[in-house]
Symmetry: C2
Subunit: 228 residues, 2 copies
Amino acid sequence: MAAKSGRAPGKRPQRTRMPSQAPGDAQPLSLERIVATAIELLDAEGVDGLTMRKLADRVGSGAMSLYWYVDNKETVFDLALDSVLEYRGLPQDADRQDWRGDVVHMLEDWRASMLRHPWTTSLLPRRALGPNMLHRLELLSRTLVTAGVGHAELNAAIWSLWNHVMGATITRASFGFSDDDMAAAQQRLTRLGEQYPTIESAQLLLDSDWDGAFRKGLGFLLDGLPLR
Amino acid sequence: MAAKSGRAPGKRPQRTRMPSQAPGDAQPLSLERIVATAIELLDAEGVDGLTMRKLADRVGSGAMSLYWYVDNKETVFDLALDSVLEYRGLPQDADRQDWRGDVVHMLEDWRASMLRHPWTTSLLPRRALGPNMLHRLELLSRTLVTAGVGHAELNAAIWSLWNHVMGATITRASFGFSDDDMAAAQQRLTRLGEQYPTIESAQLLLDSDWDGAFRKGLGFLLDGLPLR
DNA sequence: AATTGACTCGTACGACGTACGAGTCAATCA
DNA sequence: TGATTGACTCGTACGTCGTACGAGTCAATT
């Protein structure tokens, strides 16, 4: 999270200087624009592709200008991560008695948000709790409470669901996606087939119905939750 | 896993050159020693603390000598990660009918291995499947099969357990550990208390009985697994 | 005695994050 | 009106990183 430094702009009073060019040609620099551009860049080139110099280029400024809005590169990561995790809420056509459906919706949306930006999965291991993340946790807890999860089990329940999302998403993002990867994994596995017969015959890495496995496993977990 | 390059030493025939100094003073360079030292360095200074130059210093060689044994820095990470995940197996006093106990043992050992080396959690998001990892997956699958998990549910069950371990371990390693961190989190949470009443009253981040939550959540999951 | 091949490493290059301080210009004040 | 301020921009420079390249060393082999 790493708050902005003391000298950072806080509430800027108003943008007064007009862009010298035609409007749209070069918008003024701003934290929002930096974060948005960082996300673009991360989507396009991955974690290692984000460089302060490249980011500045895209934004149309000198590299050091970014540091007026941001303490350091780490902050850019933090802000980009939390920005991508904004939750738009349950659909309003949802059946309000169906807590299970609510949980599934929240968690699938969460996972989908991250998979839309695979770099999130390598960023998460550090500092994950921005305001959007907290908001998601709050909604989830509330749903569980109304579903009847007892006070003594609430935290374990929350963390279990969190773990399911985290684990599944990180795994999905680091395997899969490219068929080449899968082919390579297949080769390695069948070459080592006699050492790992069970996972080989189960096609663990190849039958890549990740979405189905996510939903199924989530079902197991919800089935196992003790409700009062 | 990124195999070693073609020119790398394969099976070295034998170490023939004698160390010029007294033995123990400076052992010969070797892949094993490089990996072991990398783990030391990672334990001591974390992911960012591992540089090829520092590693070479510790190992007592020039930086470029490492590249005889290793393709690049990435491979050092891969090898260190998998090396730390070696599984010593179930204790032989274990009750052989107790599949649940077996699973719990495996997964707690897995989690403990990673928490002993917290940097593993930030490395995992990329390329996680070394031979030791595969071995663990194989054992886990076998246990689930004998426990009665049906063929159609096997993969989802494996991934769910994997997700639980991954999620819990990564989370545990990125929060917690330092009391200062927790104090900071507490402050932020209570400051935002009115926005997040449920997770605040549940002490989600503060009641940090991580081990208990891990075991409890694992229990939920195992309770929910469909056995034939 | 010459050759090979396993291994070591000094030097150098390009890229990175960012400290520093000098610049620009609108708004404010005298 | 002229001087001052403060918000913002950015060129330069430093130290550090991964690693390409090629020259070196030395034991074993021919």
